[in-house]
């Protein structure tokens, strides 16, 4: 199992976490492709990173603060204009609680 980095079951689990779903053929193909990609990532293990601080930002910046003042914001009707379903000034979704 040298060259297996991710199983079909794991792909199914990750798909659930990502709120995606795949058909059977798609699942086979994705598992093979993700495996190839993860195998390529193995080369990072060649690099000695002991004591290296992870880089999270390209430009070192302090927190960007602003005055806590009220600015005009999007009117509700504009904010809802793109919603697939809206009613009474609210976004409408399928039933969440039985």
């Amino acid at each position: 199992m040298e060259n297996i980095r991710i199983s079909k079951d794991e792909v199914a689990h990750v798909a659930h976490l990502a709120r995606l779903e795949f058909g059977e053929t798609e699942m086979e193909k994705f598992t093979a492709q993700l495996n190839d990609i993860l195998l390529y990532m193995d080369k990072l293990n060649e690099v000695d990173t002991s004591g290296v601080a992870p880089m999270t930002h390209a430009i070192a910046q302090k927190n960007a603060f602003r005055e806590d003042a009220v600015d005009p914001s999007l009117p509700p009707e504009d904010a809802l204009a793109n919603a697939p379903a809206a009613r009474g000034g609210c976004l409408q979704v399928p039933k969440v609680i039985d």
Binding site: R19, L20, F22, I37, T49, P54, N82, A83
Partner: protein, 485 residues
């Protein structure tokens, strides 16, 4: 010469002299689009009515003596920039009907400078791709050879400029998405320093890497657009309040006495011999200008693709969590409950490449794998940046090929994601380090495909890029050709 073939500065001189009108330029551009876009497919949406009205206003402003830097100049926008009231798809089915209620800052700035927007250009879905083949709205073709890809993800913007379907265009670059298509389409493309141009209203892909920049026909136009779009934006907390110089002032300074680093890791086995030859010729031109070209080493270059394809998908899977069929965009009618609705919406709304990246990112951030992938990649990213810091300790700029090959054929790499990812091998490290980079045309292959040379500089040193690339452009005597459309 037809008006659509001219540059911003050429058109501006003639507009101000009263020889031509904005209405005339706009008509010329739309006539060109009508003649060639059926074959190139650079645009997802056109903005003809607005553009014609804008052109009339521009002509009135010029008559009043009220011309701004871009008054009357037709510009195309990558369909990743939000435009108020104009559909913005990001190349995705999930945003097929999305009409933004606001303008991106870059759109606002261009509008205030007088630009006329022509349309929204095609792109890889969510800017994920190197060929503009992953767009939900079909492939864009390379104007130099319609059987080949224009590069990506900003392939529509690059092709539109190359085919004279606009005068200049805006793109975005997360791992090479401006520079790579600029090289493959034979135009100028600049990725500014991270934080130099506001990302407000740019649909997010990988937030620590994304940056907006210009596509132009020459270096002077590049400086003109940078003068308009660069600068701090209080609405974008990673934009940097650093002074913006007049980029045009760098164009004629020359580079006598400069040290130009040529990283040996960019001349690898597998690079196309014609690309290498064109870049070697460019190096000799730079030497002729008084630049001292020295070999340097960026030892972690070979890890940049692996680092990028962990960090970019990790950020993307988080950014794309918002597409859930609730607030805007496509919603599947099939889901019976909320969870099922999310899954069916995202399964039908996203294309295969976007799903692949969401999967990689989710996996890399998931419990038990975070240290091995995301943390490790972020550490190697720090080493990649350190390589650049060291090189810029002794070099004014670096000079490399922009891409390992000229434009490849449509369909050639779509079944093998890893091969597609490797086509960004020379552009990715720039984004990881946050530095600016530019691609400038440096010749053609025997088959007539354009080749680009890339210059890189330290953070906020766009001026140096313009200085060096402009000196090169003036002296390289690259033959002026137009695509055989």
């Amino acid at each position: 010469m037809e008006l659509h073939e001219l540059t911003i500065h050429e058109l501006r001189d003639r507009l101000l002299a009263g020889e031509i009108t904005a209405a005339g330029i706009t008509a010329s551009v739309f006539a060109r689009i009508g003649a060639v876009d059926g074959r190139v497919h650079a645009y997802v949406s056109l903005m003809r009515e607005q553009a014609e009205a804008e052109a009339e206003r521009a002509d009135a402003a010029i008559q009043r003596g009220d011309a701004k830097p871009l008054t009357g100049i037709p510009i195309a926008l990558k369909d990743v920039c939000c435009t108020k009231g104009v559909r913005t798809t990001c190349g995705s089915r999930i945003l097929e009907n999305f009409i933004p209620p606001y303008d991106a800052t870059v759109v606002e700035r261009l509008r205030e400078a007088g630009a006329i927007f022509i349309g929204k250009t095609n792109m890889d879905e969510f800017a994920m791709g190197s060929s503009t083949e992953t767009s939900y709205f079909g492939v864009t073709r390379n104007p130099w050879d319609l059987d080949r890809i224009p590069g990506g993800s900003s392939g529509g913007s690059a092709a539109a400029v190359a085919a004279d379907e606009c005068i200049a265009a805006i793109g975005s670059d997360t791992g090479g998405s401006i520079r790579q298509p600029a090289a493959l389409c034979g135009v100028v493309g600049l990725k500014p320093t991270y934080g130099r141009v506001s990302r407000f209203g740019l649909i997010a892909f990988a937030s620590s890497l994304d940056q907006i920049g210009p596509f132009t026909k020459d270096m002077e136009d590049c400086a003109i657009l940078m003068n308009v779009i660069a600068g701090y934006d209080p609405r974008e907390s990673t934009s940097v309040p650093e002074e913006v110089p007049d980029y045009r002032s760098f164009l004629d300074r020359g580079i006598d006495g400069w040290t130009v680093g040529v990283p040996k890791e960019y001349f690898i086995a597998g690079i196309d011999p014609e690309v290498e030859a064109a870049v070697r010729r460019a190096i000799r031109v730079v030497e002729g200008l008084g630049g001292r070209c020295v070999e340097v080493s960026l030892p972690h270059t070979r890890y940049c693709v692996a680092v990028y394809y962990i960090i970019a998908p990790a950020e993307a899977c988080s950014n794309l969590a918002r597409y859930d069929g609730v607030k805007y965009g496509f919603r599947s009618a099939e889901g019976r409950d909320l969870l099922e609705m999310y899954k069916k919406t995202r399964a039908a709304g996203f294309g295969a490449e976007v799903k692949r990246r969401i999967m990689i990112g989710t996996y890399a951030l998931s419990s038990g794998y975070y240290d091995a992938y995301y943390k490790k990649a972020s550490q190697v990213r720090a080493l990649i940046r350190r390589d650049f810091d060291e090189a810029f300790g002794t070099c004014d700029v670096l000079m490399t090929p922009t891409t390992p090959t000229p434009a490849f054929r449509i369909g050639e790499k779509t079944e093998d994601p890893m091969q597609m990812y490797l086509s960004d091998i020379f552009t990715i490290s720039t984004n990881l380090a946050g530095i600016p980079g530019i691609s400038v045309p440096c010749g053609f292959t025997e088959a007539g495909l354009p080749v680009g040379v890339q210059f890189l500089a330290g953070h906020f040193q766009e001026g140096r890029l313009l200085q060096c690339a402009s000196a090169y452009e003036k002296n390289a005597q690259i033959e002026k050709r137009r695509p055989p459309l």
